[in-house]
């Protein structure tokens, strides 16, 4: 008699070195679709784990906080896909991926809106002193000390955006509604926008009141916002960073803020997270957030769907949903 039993479906394996923040929501939702190889749960060192258990693994899930180095990639001879939960790619050795033919999919532009919202929120907070005023009220100082010191008007300010990708464009769209004028610097001039373009960050800084950093971290952009750029921005200038800490020379930024060389900053990213320079804690003209520009409830739902869709496409030999050109 013919064997009537269906061939058991093989659940494809997905390697996870260390869990991205989304993992605790993603895993339970997709347990029946993917078998997660959880390297961090193993008592043996990661390198050994990879050699022992991951030789046949074709796909990996990572966050923006794990460094996917050539060394790690070498221990994954069957790897053909890396899906990262970030939009940034600075944590992945892209040339090595290109050489090996490993495809990369990112979180694309699904959270550009959330990040842009956070950028505007930080900017309004710095200029209008929302967080420090809230502290003032909660400390009971309003009845004692009277009115809070004045802030700075946002309308009419010149905003310079570093990196006019998806996030930069969403920031521009929002700030225009507040009466700001927009200019930008980017790797290349964008024909689709009419905002004034500057070749360099220093020229941009010299012609704006507020710098919003929205670019990727690469070798070219590392420490791009340096002493000269901050000096060009000037004493009334404000810096907002919702990108990567490495784009700014953090030591120089701190010095400028402490010495009043720039007027204020709203920061969601730092060079050595979660370390935040202690000098910033004493300043009232700085708003600090813990790299959470992305972390909203909608981001979570959309991200889980996008990750799963990318893995499913890969395992069914269909085109990836949000591939990155590397």
């Amino acid at each position: 008699m013919e064997n009537q039993n269906p061939v058991p479906k093989v659940i494809p394996k997905v390697l996870v070195l260390r869990p991205p923040p989304v993992f605790r929501f993603f895993e339970p939702r997709y347990l029946d679709k993917f078998q997660f190889l959880k390297a961090w749960e193993s008592p043996i060192p990661t390198e050994e784990f990879l050699e022992t258990h991951a030789a046949s693994v074709a796909a990996m899930l990572t966050s923006g906080f794990n460094r996917i180095t050539a060394d790690i990639l070498r221990r994954l001879p069957s790897l053909r896909l890396i899906v990262t939960t970030s939009a940034g790619l600075d944590h992945i050795d892209l040339p090595e991926c290109r050489r090996r033919g490993i495809a990369v999919a990112s979180a694309g532009s699904i959270f550009s809106e959330d990040v842009a919202d956070a950028a505007v929120g930080l900017l309004l907070d710095v200029l209008r002193r929302v967080t420090t005023a809230d502290r003032y009220v909660r400390a009971g100082l309003w009845p004692l000390n009277g009115d809070y010191p004045l802030g700075t008007k946002l309308g009419g300010k010149r905003v310079g955006i570093i990196g006019l990708g998806n996030i930069g464009l969403e920031v521009a769209k929002r700030l225009e509604a507040f009466g700001c004028s927009i200019s930008y610097t980017s790797r290349t001039k964008k024909a689709s926008v009419s905002f004034p373009f500057y070749q360099t960050a220093i020229e941009l800084a010299a012609n704006c009141d507020i710098l919003v950093i929205c670019c990727m971290l690469t070798d070219q952009t590392r420490h791009m916002v340096n002493k000269e750029v901050l000096k060009a921005l000037g004493k009334e200038g404000v810096v907002i960073n919702i990108a990567r800490g490495g784009v700014i020379d953090e030591k120089e930024l701190v010095r400028c803020l402490v010495e009043g060389e720039i007027a204020g900053a709203g920061l969601d990213a730092y060079e050595r997270e979660p370390e935040v320079p202690k000098e910033l804690f004493t300043l009232d003209n700085v708003v600090l957030s813990p790299h959470c520009a992305v972390f909203t409830d909608e981001w979570l739902r959309n991200l889980c769907e996008l990750l799963a869709a990318n893995f499913e496409a890969f395992f069914s030999n269909k085109p990836l949903i949000s591939p990155v050109a590397i």
């Binding site: 923040p21 809106e113 959330d114 842009a116 919202d117 956070a118 505007v120 929120g121 930080l122 309004l124 907070d125 200029l127 209008r128 002193r129 929302v130 967080t131 005023a133 809230d134 502290r135 003032y136 009220v137 909660r138 009971g140 309003w142 009845p143 009277g146 009115d147 809070y148 004045l150 802030g151 700075t152 008007k153 946002l154 309308g155 769209k173 929002r174 225009e176 509604a177 507040f178 009466g179 997270e273 979660p274 370390e275 935040v276 804690f281 708003v287 600090l288 957030s289 813990p290 959470c292 972390f295 909203t296 409830d297 909608e298 981001w299 979570l300």
Partner: protein, 315 residues
């Protein structure tokens, strides 16, 4: 004009105080202790021909009656709830305010409060400064883009808030005394219906006898545990004790408040809550805007006393 008495009801910014002092005979009424105010008025009322008030203190019937030579009340605010307008009309006293110059700043702060409340910006700043980030990530917050925004009062400020929220992809609805057919926003004939149909309710209307406690328990309940209330208008528009208990109980999702019923007193129950943002009436509080407001006050006074048309008359 140096002999024209001007009664100043609040501690004005240096520029305004200096200019008033330079051009008029300035009486700093805010600096007179409570038990000496009556005597002060009796002594000086004859020479007082103008009152400069603000959101906290203006010209009520009692004060107007005690100033027989009062000709003009110049408000350092756009709100007129502290001025007895009927009495002024009755006595032919002119009233001016500071519209338009502060519209952008107040609308900006409304959006700033929405973002601070929904994205927990103040709380996350506390999280970083207290060292908690070293122990773990911050929580998920609530996305603002695309959320429905309901505005009570679609005047200058309400419209400016709507324009900004639209840039965040928010569908806009509103309630006002009468619908505005020129606008593409959805109108609701009652505040309760508006609150039932939006995630973020923004109070942007004038405080009058009719609008006192317009945001009451029914409205707060309709807004609900996922709803956010933003008030950049006047404290008494909201039933504050209902609001506090709803926030403490979790029946209302969150609130961003720039105004309170008894400023500068803020209910202490709110101090321990992470889902509220509290600012000390800073809606127009930027250097640029306060200068523009001061210039309007000065301009209106000078115009009146040189028999020229007022810049921004209300009455």
């Amino acid at each position: 004009m140096e002999d024209i008495g001007v009664l100043l009801r609040f501690p004005a910014m240096p520029y305004l105080d200096q200019e008033l002092d330079k051009h008029f005979k300035l009486f700093r009424f805010w600096d007179v202790s409570e038990n000496e105010k009556e005597a002060f008025l009796r002594k000086n009322s004859g020479s007082i021909r103008a009152v400069v008030g603000n959101a906290s203190a203006g010209a009520d019937a009692e004060l107007i009656d005690s100033l027989p030579n009062l000709e003009i009340v110049a408000c350092f605010s756009v709100g007129l709830d502290k001025v007895d307008l009927d009495k002024c009309k009755e006595k032919g006293i002119r009233v001016t305010n500071t519209p338009d110059v502060l519209t952008d700043d107040v609308a900006d702060l409304a959006i700033g409060l929405i973002l601070a409340t929904m994205r927990r910006i103040c709380e996350s700043d506390r999280f970083v400064r207290s060292g908690k980030w070293k122990k773990g990530d911050f929580k998920l917050t609530t996305k603002f883009t695309g959320k429905s925004v309901g505005i009570i009062g679609l005047g200058r400020i309400g419209l400016a808030i709507a324009m900004r929220a639209e840039a965040f992809g928010c569908p806009i609805s509103y309630h006002s005394r009468s619908p505005k057919p020129d606008l593409k926003y959805k109108y609701y004939p009652s505040v309760v219906e508006l609150a039932s149909n939006c995630r973020i309710l923004v109070v942007a209307c004038a405080l009058t006898e009719e609008t006192h406690h317009i945001v009451n328990q029914k409205v707060i309940d309709a807004l609900g545990p996922k709803g956010v209330l933003i008030n950049i208008a006047r404290g008494p528009l909201v039933d504050e004790s209902e609001l506090v208990s709803a926030l403490v109980d979790g029946r209302l999702g969150g609130a961003g408040l720039d105004v309170f019923e008894h400023e500068p007193v803020v209910p202490e129950e709110l101090f321990g809550l992470d889902n509220v943002v509290l600012t000390p009436h800073i809606g127009s509080g930027t250097v640029e805007t306060r200068m523009a407001m001061a210039d309007l006050v000065l301009g209106n006074l000078k115009a009146h006393f040189s028999s020229r048309p007022l810049l921004t008359p209300v009455v």
